[in-house]
Amino acid sequence: MMNRWHVLKRLLPLLAGMVLLLSACGRADLSTLRPQGPVAEEQFGLMKLTITIMVVVVLIVFVIAGYVIIRYRRRPGDKSIPVQVEGNHKLEIIWTVIPIILLIIVGIPTVNSVFGLAKDYTKDPNAVQINVTAHQYWWEFEYPNLGVKTAQELLIPEGTIISVEAKTADVLHSFWIPSLAGKVDTNPGGNVNRMYFKADHTGVFLGKCAELCGPSHSLMDFKVKVVDKASFDRWVAAMKNPVALPEDQEIATVLNKQCLTCHAIGDKGVQLYPNLTGIGSRESVGGKLINTDQPEYANEGSVEENLKTWIKDPQAVKPGTLMPKVDLTDQQIDAIAKYLAGLKLDY
């Protein structure tokens, strides 16, 4: 007995080490293994519990298999006939009952969590209500109680319950922010799905589409920007401020004719496709071109460069996107990109 405990004691740090290794896996803003809010935390807890039990099960099988393979291998010339055992009731009961016990240990927190995470916050006045609508290949975020609509970048206050109602405008997509919460599919035809999550602290988190939705499924990324509550209120106000058109009259006309027939900027334009209000302060263009002043990879550049790349040939950036190659001269593209890059929100 003593001996077995020793083995277990030696295994424990190993297991703890593995859990540590797991928790150090991946980027904090993207990995399910580094949860940044209570929902992802709860899901990660369940993952840790099941992984631990399953690693133990796997190790037991490995040990028995290893022992059997080495101990009972046939020696050359061995003609002996082993005892033909039919079975063993005691053993069979053991390996039926132990798994059942393990399943109960996993099952209870699972059921608990299933109902816990299904809690409905859509009527909660303290929660921020958000309608998510997925499109091929972008995300629309509407704040129904605040009268604000934006795209590709979900701005939320920290430490507040975010209550989401998700649907799609076309095919199935799935709304997933790995470090904040598990995913929920966006269904068509008025079949709305609910979920909630909360971010513990400010920062930018990566969101993904997790259901095959067409050629650019892999590029249908979005961002969740978590800010403090005061900033959030300022952002909501800023979103409603009127936006000035470009001073150059020619560019203003082109913008009106070519861009604002589909897109909205502040109080101007049409809300059919991604809302461009404050696009200059967003993290990316088209979900794929990352805005940064120190570009490191092929898909990174300044906001203005990224906007130019995108407007020049949207299909080359995101195959299958509905954004057409708009009839613009290079000068017009430069001017529009410059104007859009300057659309920054103060919050």
Partner: protein, 630 residues
């Protein structure tokens, strides 16, 4: 003999096109399934090349979606299922002491319709684009609104035709196993592989009609403007998910159970020991088959079915771990105390056990719905189902093929090359898929054409690609082994492994056309082993030597499949702009489709009115054969 008819017995190509012999049909299944396995494998390699580095543009985005769709569809329906049917055809009748399956003609129909469907599906590559909505073909992505072109039509029609083959094949094996067992072969004396073939056939009987219904409904949506799954016109996209997975989950067990059977046979034979806990193994198999129908919604935890459904399906799914665990430990304890010989077949079987456990435990992890919200549709799921399908089924099939190769072809595969094949494939497999668990947990969704740089996915994807190529090497070594072996003489003994326990090892390798000159008398489980232990070299016959009645070969099954193939193409291209020439007249009036259906129906008519009594093999011919005493 009074009933003897002069029946033409073909040779060469015509022999293969007309055969109704289960052993030859098994080989046909193996060749075509093997061919599609190579096609699916090539698609997998292209996928892995595309993903070996971030922002790669080796293939275009839409081509990538075609590749992932066809890889899944091909591997499941056109590679795994047929190779399972190959083993079932080649071995089940021999294991139960039967001379053929119950309906040899239907058996041939099963093969040829599968083959026609498979070819039709792959014709799509050359006809303007393969299906690209995933092997699950979820609506609305697969509806005409979002999927113009004919890609998904090929999926819908090809799988319907191939599905006929699977369904009649399943029915055939059910009837065969129930009715054609040799005297003394009670259900609880049947070899484990036969048992799993039996349960798999039962699952096919109940699961495939669901798929057919779904495909027919989807076909109406696509070809005739139906609105089953078209949300804009009141259809319901979630309905397709339910129909698909009510088929799709049992399909998983349809695939894995025969592998369980193979492993049971191989481990028992090469440990020189009776299968530990045989009756609990049978019970576990039946239970897995039953529970397999109760868990489909665990593929839909994120669809939004609500907490009650999610909780129930979570628990139901976890329950499957219990019978599966029983099997794992029974295998381990079959080896315990045995005398284990590590042939290639047994290496694959022994490698299967821990590998399958790794796939099984991630299955239990996935069953916990709240955690699944994180795993679902990520690379974690990709890793999980490849662990059970490749690490489970494919290792099982390799094991079965090495084990029964001498019985199917009369030649032993080379053991040296076999071991090389095992180690490259096995290591390549773990290299490819183990890291994918972590990719998924780190936030990489599945079915992605590419991924951005700097997300921490690069190294693991590169490792995965290297592993995939190693698996490719393993497969090439296997092919090499087949080619090299085929130049060797056909000299395999009746019982080439010397430790054979079941009836197939009592007859020559390969088995003669009539399998058993005299139907054997079965006196217990592991019938042949029992006789051996009592010092006998062969089975007691249950009947005197006499002439043997055989079914006639027929070209009709082949022609019927061609008819369905033509009809399928006709339906698909029934709507289109062909100008106003002859082609437009042919297709737009469904004349091609009607012609194809007419060919098939005419064959059925011929089969019904023309009474074919088969023929007899006389005693002289039987006693003239090698290895049979008069």
């Amino acid at each position: 003999m009074a009933h003897a008819h002069a029946v033409k017995r073909y040779s060469g190509l015509m022999d293969w096109l007309t055969t109704v012999d289960h052993k030859k049909i098994g080989i046909l299944y193996l060749i075509s399934g093997g061919f599609f396995f190579l096609v699916g494998g090539l698609e997998a390699l292209l996928i892995r090349i595309q993903l070996w580095k971030p922002l790669n543009d080796f293939v275009a985005a839409h081509t990538y979606n075609e590749l992932l769709t066809m890889h899944g569809t091909t591997m499941i329906f056109l590679a795994a299922m047929p190779i399972i049917f190959a083993l079932m055809n080649a071995i089940v009748p021999l294991q139960i002491g039967a001379r053929d399956v119950a309906f040899p003609f239907v058996n041939a129909i099963g093969f040829w319709t599968f083959f026609a469907g498979g070819v039709l599906l792959n014709v799509s590559w050359f006809a303007g684009g393969a299906p690209d909505a995933g092997w699950t073909s979820y609506a609305p992505l697969a509806t005409p609104t979002f999927s113009g072109g004919h890609g998904v039509d090929y999926y819908v029609i090809g799988l319907q035709i191939a599905g006929i083959g699977t369904l009649v094949g399943g029915i055939n094996f059910l009837v065969t196993i129930i009715n054609m067992r040799a005297p003394g072969m009670s259900f609880m004396r049947m070899p484990m592989f036969t048992w799993t073939a039996f349960i798999t056939s039962a699952l096919i009987l109940f699961a495939f009609p669901a798929l057919t219904v779904g495909l027919v409904a989807m076909m109406f949506d696509r070809l005739f403007g139906g609105n089953f799954f078209e949300p804009t016109n009141g259809g319901n996209a979630v309905l397709w998910e339910h129909i698909f997975w009510i088929f799709g989950h049992p399909e998983v067990y349809i695939l894995i159970l025969p592998a369980f059977g193979v492993i049971s046979e191989v481990i028992s034979t090469f440990s020189r020991k009776r299968l530990f806990g045989y009756s609990s193994m049978v019970f576990a198999t039946v239970l897995i088959g039953f529970l397999g129908f109760m868990v489909w919604a665990h593929h839909m935890f994120t669809t939004g079915l609500g907490p009650v459904a999610n909780a129930l399906f979570s628990i139901a799914t976890m329950l499957i771990a219990v019978p599966t665990g029983i099997k794992i430990f029974n295998w381990l304890f079959t080896m315990w105390g045995g005398s284990i010989r590590f042939t290639t077949a047994n290496l694959f079987a022994v490698g299967f056990v821990p590998t399958f456990v790794m796939g099984g435990v991630t299955g239990v992890m996935l069953a916990a719905a709240p955690a699944d919200f994180q795993y679902h549709d990520s690379y974690f799921v990709v890793a999980h189902f490849h662990y059970v399908i490749v690490g489970g089924l494919i290792l099982g099939l390799f094991s079965g093929l090495y084990y029964w190769w001498p019985k199917m072809f009369g030649r032993m595969l080379n053991e040296g090359l076999g071991k090389l094949c095992f180690w490259t494939f096995f290591l390549g497999f773990h290299l490819t898929f183990f890291v994918q668990h972590f990719l998924g947990l780190m936030g990489m969704p599945r079915r992605v054409w590419t991924y951005l740089d700097g997300l921490g996915f690069n190294n693991l994807n590169m490792i995965s690609t290297v592993g995939a190529f190693l698996m490719g090497v393993g497969t090439i070594v296997f092919l090499l082994n087949i080619v090299i072996t085929s130049f060797k003489p056909r000299d395999a003994a009746n019982d080439p492994w010397e430790d054979g326990r079941t009836l197939e090892w009592t007859i020559p390798s390969p088995a003669p056309e009539y399998n058993f000159a005299q139907t054997p008398l079965v006196r217990g489980y592991d019938a042949f082993w029992k006789e051996k232990m009592e010092g006998k070299k062969e089975m007691l016959p249950a009947e005197p030597l006499g002439s043997i009645h055989m079914p006639s070969p027929s070209i009709l099954p082949f022609v019927m499949a061609i008819g369905l193939f033509i009809a399928g193409l006709g339906f698909m291209y029934g709507k289109g702009d062909y100008g106003d020439g002859f082609k437009a007249f042919l297709f737009n009036n469904h004349i091609v489709a009607i012609l194809g259906m007419a060919i098939t129906l005419f064959c059925m008519f011929l089969r019904s009115v023309y009474d074919d009594h088969g023929f007899h093999i006389e005693v002289d011919e039987i006693t003239g054969d090698k290895g049979v005493k008069a």
